[in-house]
């Protein structure tokens, strides 16, 4: 039953029997899609005298905007930081697999690597739309090499760098170019870094602070120059101290310019951050929380040894450690100051959403927005992604009440559905 065709001939799909996330609330309402975008049904009714060609019965499911993962290093045996000749098939493989976690867009992340790796890998992947083939690529997230030695975490020390010559030139030399890059993580206490922050922001690249021993003023200066994200809060930075809160202090800093928000990534896998710490961050600054997986090669694979960048790591249950440090298994609640070094997680995005909701006691809407709206706002793409507003891309995830993924849609087309 199509429209009078005054605006478009294309087919109209109406999702019925669903609760949609709109205006920060789950509402019992239908969702209309045409030509890959969310459609305004009232305009359709009055202007075009139109109605739906196809009905999709969601049987009471929740429809949320598709999840956006801004920090994912690989998965299912693929390591984005491995310089192969065919990086794109690896990225495509992961892009397809993560559809089942409700992820419809992502930033392939590279850990600290030598220039040769960047020069080989970066040119092979372009920003691209998602679809049946997999989640959309929003651009690379380059985590390093301009980070702190003391907080390198699992990054290989020999490839860390500082800004020697003019700042941005070092960056260009390391990466080989800045095309198709969505985000760069750097340490703002490094000499010359502030001008780099400014320059990157002017070019529309999101700057994130992480793997750093910066104090609060250095962090605030970087935010003043445009930095807007904190890479995996609490991990690889100075711990919160009441006289110098460090980067963590950005969550409640009064130096953040008016109208701007500092977002922060949380790996809500129950391991990287104690739930109590997660709650402190969430309560201090709920609107800035962005769920990330920081997933590594081993995500989706069985326990054992795998490569990450230039290093070898070991999987034990939901834990991933740098191999060779301490082979004996230790429960995560013991003091982790000097035993094992975590190096990324193997939790999936939907697991993170569920764990975040459970640990923080937040509402369903908040948990879903932390994985969709907030990352979209962080990357400056919330005019088309991360929400179900009229005109946004119809990237959707259908979930049951326990927030398990039932189906994933990109541009209104079903790209994954849970088997019986």
């Amino acid at each position: 039953m199509p429209s009078n065709k005054s605006v478009s001939d294309a087919a109209i799909t109406q999702f019925i029997n669903c609760r949609i996330l709109r205006d920060h609330r789950l509402q019992r309402d239908d969702l209309w899609v045409r030509e890959g975008k969310v459609l305004d049904p009232e305009k359709l009714f009055f202007d075009e005298k139109g109605y739906a060609d196809k009905l999709v019965d969601c049987e009471g499911s929740i429809i949320a905007p598709g999840f956006i993962d801004v920090q994912i290093n690989g998965g299912y045996g693929i390591d984005f930081s491995q310089a192969s000749d065919d990086v794109s098939s690896g990225v495509s493989f992961v892009a397809k697999k993560i559809l089942q976690h409700g992820v419809t867009s992502f930033c392939p992340t590279l850990v600290t690597s030598p220039p040769a790796v960047y020069h080989k890998v970066l040119p092979q992947i372009k920003v691209s739309d998602g679809g049946e083939h997999g989640a959309g690529v929003l651009g690379f997230h380059l985590e390093g090499p301009f980070i702190s030695v003391e907080k390198k975490g699992a990054h290989p020390e020999q490839f860390l760098r500082t800004f020697q010559s003019g700042g941005i030139e070092d960056l260009m030399e390391a990466y080989g170019g800045l095309d198709n890059i969505a985000m760069v993580t750097l340490a703002p206490e490094l000499g010359g870094s502030q001008s780099v922050v400014k320059e990157l922001c002017q070019r529309g690249i999101t700057v994130s602070l992480g793997h750093s021993v910066a104090n609060l003023s250095q962090a605030e200066e970087a935010v003043h120059h445009g930095a807007s994200f904190i890479t995996h809060l609490f991990n690889a930075m100075l711990p919160f101290h009441h006289r110098d809160p460090g980067i963590v202090g950005l969550l409640t800093s009064d130096q953040v310019p008016a109208g701007r928000t500092v977002y922060y990534g949380m790996i809500a896998d129950g391991i990287h951050t104690n739930p109590a710490a997660l709650r402190i961050a969430h309560r201090a600054h709920p609107s800035g929380l962005v769920l990330v997986t920081d997933a590594i090669t081993a995500m989706g694979l069985p326990p054992g040894r795998h490569t990450l960048g230039q290093q070898v790591i070991e999987i034990q249950g939901l834990h991933a450690y740098v191999a060779g440090l301490n082979a004996a298994y230790q429960p995560p609640t013991t003091c982790s100051a000097c035993t094992k070094t975590l190096c990324g997680s193997i939790a999936t995005m939907d697991m993170c959403v569920r764990h975040f909701k459970h640990a923080s006691g937040c509402s369903v809407e908040e948990a879903l927005e932390a994985a969709s709206l907030h990352p979209a706002k962080l990357l400056g793409i919330s005019h088309k992604k991360g929400n179900l507003d009229y005109g946004s891309d119809a990237d959707l995830v259908l979930l049951d009440d326990a927030l398990n993924v039932e189906a994933t849609f990109i541009s209104g087309e079903e790209v994954w559905r849970k088997g019986p």
Partner: protein, 276 residues
């Protein structure tokens, strides 16, 4: 006139919805013969619309062969504004039922030429064969649609300036800011509604009681435009107890008595005894 008095708002809404449902079913509308329905907006018919949606969802009724004509719309208010009557009808009725969008008519308060828009609307009603059942409400000042006190009782669809009473009554929908309330509206005339085969007026709440008294117990008067329907061959006033507060006890008793008789009558009709 028929005066149907129900105990409260919910029962009044249900009665009205059932009446509309039964009329449509009895009419047996088809592609060759549509049922034309005139519709109101506001807080009074809200419950009635909810009930009609329930009847649609349970399969009792379809709006596939129903044409609707709304009474009015603000002038100059963007159609997408949450308080426009287009938004009201979409959110509270149209989006929940199976009406063909081409059959849902509402005056366009943003038309280039308002006068032409009004004339075209009268034309559309005529082309649809006239209104079978016009459902309306009543303002606290006794107006029907936006036919404010002083409106001609033989008026047609036209632009009207809203009375102060109406603007004050509507302020609650515009954040209680009188400056935000539209001052003009397009409205069907009293004459337009009088042309309908049958008219049903919904009146609920104590604040409407005086207007109801003026409409049915005093004379036909252009200061209380609903009173014009005293001269219509087939009008039903559906109200709740609160709305009868200004009526004479005698009037109320008389109509409650006749309704009891009607109840028995309807029970004997097999297919259509869903009313009570």
């Amino acid at each position: 006139m028929r005066l149907v008095i129900l105990d409260d708002y919910d029962l009044a809404s249900e009665w009205a919805a059932k009446y509309i449902r039964n009329r449509i079913i009895q009419f047996k509308p088809s592609a060759e013969r549509y049922f034309t329905l005139g519709l109101p907006t506001g807080s009074t018919p809200y419950g009635c619309y909810k009930k009609l949606i329930e009847f649609y969802r349970s399969g009792d009724i379809s709006f596939k062969y129903v044409k609707t004509f709304n009474m009015d719309e603000y002038v100059g208010l963007p159609r997408a504004h949450p308080e426009s009557y287009h938004s009201y009808m979409w959110n509270n009725f149209f989006k929940h039922i199976d009406i063909d969008p081409a059959n849902a008519h509402i005056l366009d308060g943003n038309a280039e030429d308002l006068e032409t828009e009004c004339q075209a609307y009268e034309q559309k009603i005529a082309e649809a064969g006239g209104i079978e059942l016009f459902v309306g409400g009543i303002g606290p000042d006794g107006h029907i649609a936006f036919n404010e006190p002083g409106s001609s009782l033989v008026s047609r669809t036209r632009v009207k300036t809203l009375a102060k009473d109406t603007i004050v009554a509507n302020a609650r929908f515009f954040g209680n800011d009188l400056n935000k309330v539209p001052t003009m509206a397009l409205t069907v005339g009293v004459g337009t509604v009088m042309d309908a085969k049958e008219v049903m007026i919904l009146i609920t709440g104590a604040h409407k009681a005086f207007a109801l008294y003026k409409a049915i117990e005093e004379g036909v008067n252009h200061m209380w435009t609903v009173s014009a329907f005293q001269q219509h061959p087939r009008t039903i006033f559906v109200c709740d107890e609160d709305a009868t507060l200004e009526l004479r006890v005698k009037t109320v008793k008389y109509f409650k008595g006749t309704n009891n008789n009607n109840r028995c009558m309807y029970k004997t009709l097999e297919v259509y005894c869903k009313t009570f």
